[in-house]
Subunit: 358 residues, 2 copies
């Protein structure tokens, strides 16, 4: 299990943009995140099962985690078509429309778990409904109750499949409850009472302000910590988040931001306030310093801002590769600093140095 602070890069379609598994190792990546919704549509979970599962498919012998597909089903399906609906939720599950070709599909908790067992990552996630922000309390309550019933059904299916397929996948249950304290706390209690291997916190990175996110995580952490299980925070991972949440006991989080920002030319760094800048401005055209003055990754050891500025400005593919590489190395290295500081009792000091606050 993921028992110490771990940042999980996202490789939605079974590939972290532009990087090879050899790069993962050099960067220090221990685990990456794949999206069940995308892989179910392309190439299909049955294809991947036939090819020996996600590890063999991607040639990655480290860990992999897949999500339930729930988040994408809802987020990509929220927009309505001419008939007003792309997602139909029932007690049994969710009917949704493929964003690729408009075809109709139906996910139940059982189906999501079956797909994930076909993909055969190390860690999988129970099927849940991620309510959008803001949500009305009536709806959030209804969705949460359904999510809890789905959690139990996910768990039953998972245990059955682990036995039947002789697999030992680990299942995370998901705490939801939108931005209502009582619902969140009810959810934390309910999910922790089930026999999940780990607890994920969902629905906290859906467009809300960051102080609300921190507040919502704060509502549930005391209960979850008592369960003494690994805690995964879904879809969160800016530099300040690493300090705020690993410091409080979260053990892992995944986020598309470092890779997505890289492809948009944003560089993670300790050199400027806010921990990021864009490589595009003309002032970097002749700048022979590395992307970050403190980073010892392959990119920072070898390249300067001038060349990467040029590559990005001319839309050269190497730009996306180098920025993806650096940003992930920066996340992983910062996480390592946090791990060490937590072990050595110097975490508060480190956090103060980085964020200027405790």
């Amino acid at each position: 299990m993921l028992c110490q602070p771990t940042f999980v890069p996202v490789g939605t379609q079974a590939s972290i943009k532009s990087l090879t598994p050899e790069d993962f190792k050099t960067i220090g990546i221990e685990i990456f995140f794949c999206n069940t919704y995308h892989l179910y549509l392309r190439p299909g979970d049955k294809v991947i099962k036939k090819l020996g599962g996600l590890h063999k498919f991607t040639r990655w012998d480290g860990n992999i985690i897949t999500d339930s597909g729930g988040f994408q089903v809802f987020s990509l399906g929220r927009e309505t078509d001419a008939h007003g609906k792309l997602v139909k939720i029932s007690e049994d599950g969710v009917e949704f429309t493929s964003h690729l070709d408009g075809s109709k599909h139906f996910f139940t908790p059982e189906k999501s778990i079956q797909i994930q067992h076909n993909l055969a990552a190390n860690y999988i996630i129970a099927f849940d409904e991620c309510t959008p922000y803001p949500a009305k309390k009536d709806y959030a309550t209804q969705a949460l109750d359904r999510t809890h019933r789905w959690a139990v059904r996910s768990l039953v299916e998972h245990k059955k499949l682990n036995k039947k397929l002789k697999q030992d996948l680990k299942l995370y249950g998901v705490v939801q409850g939108s931005y209502f304290k009582d619902l969140r706390q009810e959810s934390a209690k309910f999910i922790c009472d089930q026999d999940f291997d780990g607890i994920a916190i969902g629905g906290v990175s859906v467009g809300e302000p960051k102080d609300k996110m921190r507040q919502a995580v704060g509502w549930v952490l005391p209960t979850i910590l008592k369960a003494k299980k690994p805690i995964h925070l879904l879809g969160v991972g800016e530099i300040d988040d690493l300090f705020d949440f690993f410091g409080e006991g979260v053990t892992s989080m995944d986020c598309t931001l470092p890779t997505r920002m890289g492809r948009a030319g944003y560089v993670l760094t300790r050199d400027v306030t806010g921990f990021k800048y864009r490589i595009l401005p003309i002032k970097y055209q002749k700048d022979t310093t590395p992307l970050d003055s403190t980073c010892n990754c392959y990119v920072c050891k070898n390249y300067d801002k001038a060349y990467i500025h040029h590559l990005f400005k001319t839309q050269e593919l190497l730009a996306y590769r180098l920025l993806t590489y650096h940003n992930l190395a920066f996340m992983i290295n910062t996480t390592q600093l946090i791990r060490n500081a937590l072990k050595n009792g110097t975490f508060s000091q480190l956090k103060k140095e980085w964020l200027g606050r405790v």
Copy 2:
């Protein structure tokens, strides 16, 4: 100098698409080709000079060759604007319009050589006019005479700059003459009579059928071979070309095809007639064999068609990286086979095995 068969990959904007200099070495790339026109516009030759030249800029300690800018000035400038002209040719040089922002620029032979000395590749090329195919004889004659006068001016400027800047760049003169035997032979004679370090053959990959291309090269090779200088064939490099032209005494050729084809999903291989196939068809979805059954490159040793098919179909950046890598490795390895066969006296046999003809 490039004295034995060498395939030269193209890195137009000072980057071979998606690859690092470390990749160049693993692939076996010895030299790559940069385009003066593009680098003059972005980031500017003066910027690159200030940053220490192309080698330092790109971190590549192998060889680099730049072209004169002539080909792009004409090919990107051929289309006319509302006023009917984007390229104005005079005895002095060529006025052209940037394809990026519509700004006006003027290249003379001296300017082209000055830019190339600023970029400071190992090998540079005299400024020439590359006539389109087909061309009328009157125009081709006029263009050729001007190209010869420009060749002499390029050579004078080059010698001056090598001395002034204490550089030891090597200059290729360019044989032109469109598809007229007498003009081609006149040009070969004229260019070989000048004090160039090497002889390039230009204007033979401009849309003409391949048998015409082979014919045109055949018209000039006997004369050029007598000059006992390295011979570079500009813009040519399909698999059959490697055999046809290295076998006849050409020592190097550059071509964008292997990298461009890779980004379009085409795989170079010995496994099928025509030496290429596309990875996109559904039949590769579960194919666990390597891209090419004979290739020992990093991609073929580690990945299967199924995963690369998936990456390409989902437009993952890694697809372009892996296909670029394999296609270049395939070109370089085939060139190495040809080198060895020419040394060992087994070339005709090798060519017959590959092309089914001598």
